[in-house]
């Protein structure tokens, strides 16, 4: 799943993204979240990702975040949520 129309994952996008995630959860068994186009993330976006990751895991499916840009990774690392998000760093 490529987040085509989004370049940020912040408080302004989380509501749209929640709908996208719910749909993906229904339709896909193994979710590959391509974050190549995401330049910016905040704690609200991180929390939504954490919710998605734990929901997917609880439903015995898989999710993987790929192509995470350095700027985004930096923000994730500040809150030390990279492990919970399954990022290999």
């Amino acid at each position: 799943m490529i987040l085509d129309n989004l370049t940020a994952l912040t408080i302004y996008e989380v509501e749209t993204l929640q709908d996208i995630f719910i749909l993906a959860l229904k339709e896909q068994e193994n979710i590959l979240l391509d974050m190549a186009k995401i330049d910016k993330i905040d704690i609200v976006g991180i929390q939504l990702l954490l919710s998605m990751v734990s929901t997917v895991k609880a439903s015995q499916k898989t999710i993987k975040l790929i192509n995470v840009k350095d700027t985004v990774l930096q923000q994730i690392k500040i809150s030390n949520t990279q492990i919970a998000l399954g990022l290999d760093v």
Partner: protein, 728 residues
């Protein structure tokens, strides 16, 4: 701009002003423990708050300054004059950085260069070891001498995300004040993707911070979000506190989370259900958690009580007594409040309110007053029950109106103190030694007036220093002390505020001003001007008698603007001067711009209002006196000659339908004039409304007011009327 950011910017403004005041004080009185402390705290606070918002440019810059002042505080570095000047430049640069935030602009290359140079100059004063340590990246930027390990447990209130605050900025800032040893995100409360409200925070954090900070200093880091977060802070080596944390958080998973993240050993933590707090502990926990609620409830109870007390009083007494008793009751309740809430006094002693909110209140208040007056005119019988109630309502509205107006009043001292540095810089730049003395700082004036008078005052002060006070050698040659003196004082005088700027310089050269005015055509050759009128010519456009044009003043541009600004505020300006001894500029301003006690009268078909504070007395003219007046411009009042101004002639009003004529004697400062009017209609609480730009040039009229009947009454500008009379 978020509310938090606005508070941050306002706070920075205050801190920078405190810093500047202390630095200017240092320049004249030398460094003291108190001034050093003030500057250190100001820089520290700005750095801390900026860190909270992630404003790294400000943090980095303030950090170097803070380090230097910390060294000064410790006695490792001494203060010299160059250092004070450097710190004033640093203050200016911080102001630039903060203004860029307000304007949402990026730092330009030139500004970066300025900042870089200033940091280098600051570092030049720092002890070597400190600079070396500072340059190592990723280490705590404050030198940790006796660092403590603090555990910070953070949960967020429901609206935290929507405040726009960033917790990541707080975490980044942790690394600037110390070193984050551990951050454990608490994610077990985050609901599934179907159930989550993405705008609500469910995440939490457990943090271990190594820093040379006290508990209150750690709490201060959260100053701007303290109302939106739930914090629990304690020293990491206090294992009992971990048990308390597990207990108060009521999160069954927390214990394992703390153990897994190695905050504490398994053995140290007691099973949550086994923790049985003592009665005192329970009370303390409940008290801590509910403290805010209790304070709020108490306030609500007090409000209800006050309302009830007022109601009882209202039912018991007659009107005049009511007003008195209400005041007494208020005082008693206030005293009780002060007694009972002494420890919290500081927290509730002031409240920042956007001044535009007060303006809105004033506007509504004025509309209510007008409507109430309208009701009063619609009631035929003022003695009826409804009539009395409306009159009572009018009195109460006046109290409310006074209260609101009082909110707009600010002490002039804050504004005056800002001039200290400018005076000091100006004097230094042109090689003059000036003792700048401020008095009457506690005098209160309408906020708008204070803001609008600031630039004219600054201009006049610069003129006093540049053209008034002589160079030290010239002063000594005249037998004066080398140091000149400029006084800025404010005081209240008969319903107006007087601001004086007085210097003991060379005084105004009457002949030179007159010659210059004749030369540029503002005055005819054969004039009969008094000294005071000649001095006032310096307010004419393009008239400068300065021999040299400096960067500070001397171009003759500005003094006309100064006079216009003062007149726009319904004020007046006078000059006294003695050659060789100095000059004094006296500015008179009305206390407020929005609501005045006025006196309503009629001339021809129009109603007019005179500010009550400008009225000396009213005299009714008998028919014989009217006839004897016969176009005279003066009248004899108890042996004194009083100049008269016939308003009907001045404003082209129709002849009055009544036979009566009155003289209202008005004064402004030392000048006095009798206004010839038709009917006197009595006192009137006047809400001043602007006449708009169309009538901007209407001389002698400062605004208008809507009467209860819906009619418009024009408000006289007494200062201008007196001038018009004197100009003939």
């Amino acid at each position: 701009m978020t509310e938090e950011l606005e508070i941050f910017l306002e706070d920075c403004d205050d801190q920078l002003q405190m810093m500047e005041d202390a630095l200017v004080d240092m320049q004249s009185n030398g460094a003291s423990e108190s001034t050093i402390g003030t500057i250190f705290r100001a820089v520290h606070t700005i750095k801390g708050s900026a860190g909270m918002f992630g404003f790294d440019d400000i943090v980095t810059f303030a950090h170097t300054g803070e380090n230097l002042f910390d060294s000064i505080r410790q006695g490792d570095v001494g203060v010299c004059e160059e250092m004070i000047s450097l710190f004033l430049l640093c203050k200016d640069h911080m102001e630039v950085l903060i203004n860029l935030l307000t304007e949402d602009k990026e730092l330009s290359a030139a500004q970066k260069e300025v900042g870089h140079n200033l940091i280098q100059r600051l570092e030049g004063y720092l002890p070597r070891a400190q600079i070396k340590e500072e340059n190592i990246e990723d280490i705590p930027s404050t030198i940790v001498i006796e660092a403590a390990k603090w555990h910070i447990s953070i949960r967020f209130h429901k609206d935290f995300f929507t405040t726009g605050m960033s917790i990541n900025s707080v975490f980044k800032f942790f690394n600037k004040v110390g070193k984050v040893l551990k951050i454990q995100p608490i994610i077990y409360n985050i609901p599934s993707i179907e159930d989550i409200n993405p705008l609500h925070p469910y995440i939490g954090f457990e943090v271990c911070l190594l820093a040379d900070l006290s508990k209150s200093e750690v709490e201060d880091i959260f100053e701007f979000i303290q109302e939106d977060v739930d914090l629990y802070i304690f020293l990491c080596d206090d294992s009992d506190e971990y048990n308390t944390l597990v207990s108060i958080r009521k999160e069954p998973e927390l214990k394992n989370e703390l153990i897994n993240a190695k905050f504490i050993d398994e053995d140290t933590l007691i099973e949550p259900e086994l923790i049985i707090p003592t009665v005192e502990e329970k009370e303390e926990i409940v008290l801590n958690q509910k403290e805010e609620e209790i304070v709020l409830n108490q306030k609500e109870e007090e409000i209800v009580l006050n309302q009830k007390e007022e109601e009882i009083v209202l039912n018991q007494k007659e009107e005049e007594e009511i007003v008195l008793n209400q005041k007494e009751e208020e005082e008693i309740v206030l005293n009780k409040k002060e007694e009972s809430s002494e420890p919290k006094k500081k927290a509730v002693s002031s409240l920042r309110v956007d001044s535009s909110k007060i303006d809105i209140l004033i506007n509504y208040m004025s509309e209510i007053s007008i409507t109430n007056s309208r009701i009063l005119t619609l009631i035929d019988d003022e003695g009826s029950e409804i009539g009395e109630t409306v009159i009572h309502m009018k009195q109460l509205l006046e109290f409310v109106s006074d209260g609101i107006m009082d909110m707009r009043m600010v002490k002039v001292g804050d504004s005056f103190n800002k001039f200290r540095r400018i005076v000091s810089d100006t004097a230094k730049k042109i090689g003059k030694d000036v003792d700048f003395v401020i008095s009457g700082e506690d005098t209160e004036l309408d906020k708008t007036v204070v803001e609008r008078i600031s630039d004219p005052l600054l201009h006049m002060l610069r003129n006093s220093i540049d053209h008034g006070v002589e160079l030290p050698e010239d002063r000594v040659a005249c037998g004066k002390p080398a140091q000149g003196r400029v006084d800025l004082r404010a005081y209240q005088d008969s319903g107006t505020i007087v601001i004086e700027i007085e210097d003991n310089g060379k005084g105004l050269d009457r002949d030179r001003i007159l010659a210059k005015a004749i030369e540029n055509g503002s005055v005819k050759k054969n004039n009969n001007l008094s000294d005071s009128e000649i001095y006032k010519l310096i307010f004419s456009a393009g008239l400068s008698t300065a021999e040299t044009v400096s960067a500070i003043s001397g171009r003759g541009v500005g003094m006309d603007v100064v006079k216009r600004n003062i007149e726009d505020l319904r004020g007046s300006v006078e000059i006294e001067s003695t050659i060789g001894q100095g000059s004094k500029i006296t500015i008179r301003l009305p206390l407020t711009l929005a609501v005045i006690d006025g006196f309503l009268l009629q001339v021809g078909d129009t109603k007019y209002i005179i500010p009550l504070e400008n009225i000396k007395e009213c005299i009714e003219l008998t028919t014989i006196e009217q006839e004897s007046l016969n176009g005279n411009e003066f009248i004899n009042v108890r042996g004194e000659v009083l100049p008269l101004l016939d308003i009907r002639l001045l404003l082209g009003e129709n002849k009055s339908i009544t036979e009566r004529q009155n003289i209202v004697i008005v004064y402004f400062g030392k000048k006095i004039v009798g206004l010839l009017v038709d009917e006197l209609l009595g006192e009137h609480q006047t809400v001043i409304k602007s006449l708009g730009i169309v009538f901007d040039q209407l001389s002698g009229i400062s605004g208008a007011s809507v009467l209860g009947s819906g009619e418009i009454a024009l408000i006289f500008d007494v200062a201008r009327l007196i001038e018009l009379r004197n100009e003939g």
